[in-house]
């Protein structure tokens, strides 16, 4: 090849790099390791990460069963090693699957349109707020304190320099639901949207009807956030919301120390041109057959540049595929049954502890336990990872922990936890 190019050495090909820009020593990274040394390396690291523990952690990342089939499918090279489906004629597999994904997300959330995925639930929140700002021409955002604390941090980071003031809505200390009076007080004509999560960070199911009425009366949009997708197997979907964002991690995606996950954003048909990210649309091919392709890309950065709806480019396609497979496998009945098992397990656990809030909950709830750290330490001795001590995010709840039970949580573990909590 060198001959064909007309150089004597491969080094010649970088001969033109200016000396002051060149790197003149070897990287301090050790020489290549063999496949099996690499496997051993990660096995050893993994062995130091709570293998064999029961866990009651939720708080946005949930332990659910992962059907084997999902992994079989995402490992097909045709899905794993293809790029964003720019060339429709040889990407119909991915395009068709994304179209199915968009449809299932709509069915699940009660919305009319959904995109191909967002980075995760947290980054989808500011994207929803920015979308609301574009739609309403207003700039203020109200967000419930019961929205996942890290999601709110991300919202703050994104909005800081976009002239998008953000105010927080308190919660009712009896029920853990957002404080409607506080909403009424802070809602004004500059308010673009109100962001609420349900089940909220405390696991409490929010009442949306009144809130929606209030918000819409003021001409603002209601943004609904979920972190536990399984809840939508049982919970009434947020028809009254204008934008729905959430995290699909619960659908076949392993916790993986926090990522990669898949965020979703869904909305009403009329707002479709303001939605960020990739969209797959139905069309016809030269023979008049149904086909799919990326569409409305005039919203996107590669066409619109600084005027784009977002700078998002690569999203979470393969993870969204896992979610699609999950929804396909469980389907109509299965997802409901899955949600029902989660509901039942969490309520069994709650029945043995003191709940901090009195309100309906799905598979998470806040328990009053005195000293959370002490209880968790006690549990670790029994190879149980306890709940999330809430003081970290809510000083007023320093004596509480957030506990989660899913279909994977065994009765014995719950009984052990209850006993330790006595």
């Amino acid at each position: 090849m060198l001959g064909a190019i007309g150089v004597r050495s491969i080094e010649e090909l970088i001969g033109h790099l200016p000396g002051d820009a060149k790197f003149n020593r070897a990287l301090t990274i050790p020489p290549g390791k063999s496949e099996f040394e690499i496997v051993d390396y990660f096995k050893e690291r993994g062995s130091r990460c709570a293998v064999g523990y029961a866990t009651f952690l939720g708080a946005g990342v949930y332990n659910h069963y992962r059907p084997v089939v999902a992994d079989t499918i995402v490992q097909r090279g045709e899905f794993l090693t293809s790029y964003t489906p720019y060339q429709a004629e040889i990407s119909q597999g991915t395009l068709t699957q994304i179209f199915e994904f968009q449809t299932m997300v709509c069915q699940l959330t009660g919305m009319e349109v959904a995109n191909a995925s967002m980075y995760d639930g947290s980054s989808a929140v500011p994207e929803a707020a920015m979308m609301a700002v574009r739609i309403t021409g207003r700039n203020k955002t109200l967000v419930a304190k019961t929205v996942h604390p890290e999601y709110r941090e991300v919202l703050a980071t994104y909005t800081k320099h976009q002239h998008m003031p953000v105010a927080e809505i308190g919660y009712d200390s009896e029920t853990g639901k957002l404080d409607l009076r506080d909403v009424a007080a802070k809602l004004d004509d500059d308010t673009a949207c109100v962001i609420v999560q349900s089940p909220n960070f405390f696991g409490t199911v929010e009442d949306l009807d009144e809130l929606a009425a209030l918000v819409h009366k003021r001409g603002a949009l209601l943004v609904y956030v979920f972190t536990e997708a399984v809840s939508l197997g049982l919970l009434e979907p947020p028809y009254m919301a204008d934008i729905v964002v959430g995290e699909l991690q619960s659908f076949c995606i392993s916790p993986a120390y926090g990522g990669p996950f898949a965020g979703i954003i869904a909305t009403k048909e009329k707002f479709i041109r303001q939605i960020p990210g990739r969209l797959v649309g139905e069309t016809r091919d030269g023979d008049g057959k149904r086909a799919f392709c990326l569409t409305l890309s005039t919203r996107e950065q590669h066409i619109r540049r600084e005027k784009a709806t977002s700078n998002i480019c690569t999203n979470q396609a393969l993870i969204a595929l896992m979610g699609t497979v999950h929804m396909s496998l469980f389907g109509k009945e299965g997802l409901r049954e899955l949600a029902h098992q989660n509901l039942s397990k969490a309520h069994y656990l709650a029945s043995k502890l003191t709940r901090r809030f009195d309100a309906p909950f799905f598979n998470e709830f806040v328990a009053k336990v005195g000293d959370p750290d002490q209880l968790n330490a006690k549990l670790l001795e029994r190879k149980i990872v306890g709940g999330l001590a809430l003081g970290r995010f809510y000083p007023e709840l320093a004596d509480c922990m957030l506990l989660c039970a899913t279909e994977t949580t065994k009765k014995e573990a719950m009984d052990q936890l209850a006993e330790a909590a006595q």
């Binding site: 690291r45 332990n63 794993l80 597999g93």
Partner: protein
Amino acid sequence: MIRKVTSHPTQNESLLFEMSSPGKKGYQLPELDVPAVDPKKALGAKNVRAEIDGFPEVSEVEVIRHFTRLSTWNYAIDLGLYPLGSCTMKYNPRVNELVARTEGLAWAHPYQPESLAQGAMEVIATLECALAEITGMDGVTLQPAAGAHGEMTGILMVRAALEKQGNPRKKVLCPDSAHGTNPATAHMVGYEVVNIKSNDLGMVDVASLAAAVDGDTAALMVTNPNTVGVFEEHIVQVAKILHDKGAMVYMDGANMNALVGVARPGDFGVDVMHLNLHKTFSTPHGGGGPGSGAVAFRSHLEPFAPTPRLRHKDGTYSWDYDRPDSIGRVRAYYGNFGVLVRALAYIMAHGGPGLRNATLDAILNANYIRKGLEAYYDLPYKSPCMHEVVFSDDRQSAKGVKTGDIAKRLIDYGFHPYTVSFPLIVHGALMIEPTETESKQEIDLFIDAMQSIAREIDENPDVVLKAPHSTRTRRVDEVTAARKPVVRWRPAVPAARAAD
């Protein structure tokens, strides 16, 4: 002559919704070991939904077949050369998929006690160090989920640093060759975007740059090598121009596959940059993600990096949330950890020398293609190219054939097309990046195909204009798709009433 592919039947398949039959499911749960709760009682009747209209009802074998059949309609690296310029479609080693599934790592919860997450934290720390060494930077954050996300993180850090000095400034400069995410990012961080035109070597025009930089300039977002595959030869001088005015240099590292082991942004004046681990470090694209947009920075920007930062003290790792000057979080938790595991595995497998060789091979392959095609396609910039080469369709468009048509015809020849119509500074661009993992045989077949298409355009342009001819789906009508967008399936009329 088409040597690479032969047609063969592939299974048709309808949408899952169209093949559902009531009551079917593909999955079984264990029996409940606690009393079953009545949802209406527990949640309140009005909070319990009716069944999900139109949701799939299929068996496990139908699911396997559905997605297996769909997969056969895709092209992929595992099938052949995938020369999308700027995307670095290199081979994705399978061992990376295995290690990413290591039980303790795949099932680590982001909130589990740090004492029970040391292994995962060590993986993150080790990758941060390796990337700092590779980029010549002082620190790295792995929180961003993709390149664009990394750009936002980096520009936010620039802004925070300037703000701390008392003035965030107003403008971010982007060469006209920049990727769309650059201006879009600058805008999201509240900056006005100023375009800088490139000179006829495809490089930033130093004079016009110097003219544009002033006290309102926050930063330059430069891609190096840039999107025409050319190394910015005056990069050191460029950086100096900005630094002299108290501005900073952000580097879009999407093309880092041309530099690893050969040149380090930290050595040529870059203050902050992102890396696309899903490009340079071989993590699979998966049809559009997940990725990871690691951001590397000089020490003066460290205080502003996202929260939390990983610390290492007396043999234990911990997360530091006490970061008064931090830009805050750009996402929940610590980043796309599963992607980080793969990237580290890639770096370990290559090692320092191997990484440098990969870079050289990538450059070799690009230059070999350039040589093989320069007699057939117009080369707008004669500067030496690095890991990718950009042609224009000048000669072919004279015959009415555009880069998009040539791309479609390549499909008939058994290849995924190159990147079409980017960068915008090249009219009718053909942006070709083979990567280092392609064999000479595969590349020769590609060159042969591109030459053959050039001849077809002379002899019979129609065959190219109507391409592809061999695919199960003929050229799709993107215009109609956009005119009245249908982005979801809906049941046929009868069921329609019921539709949500």
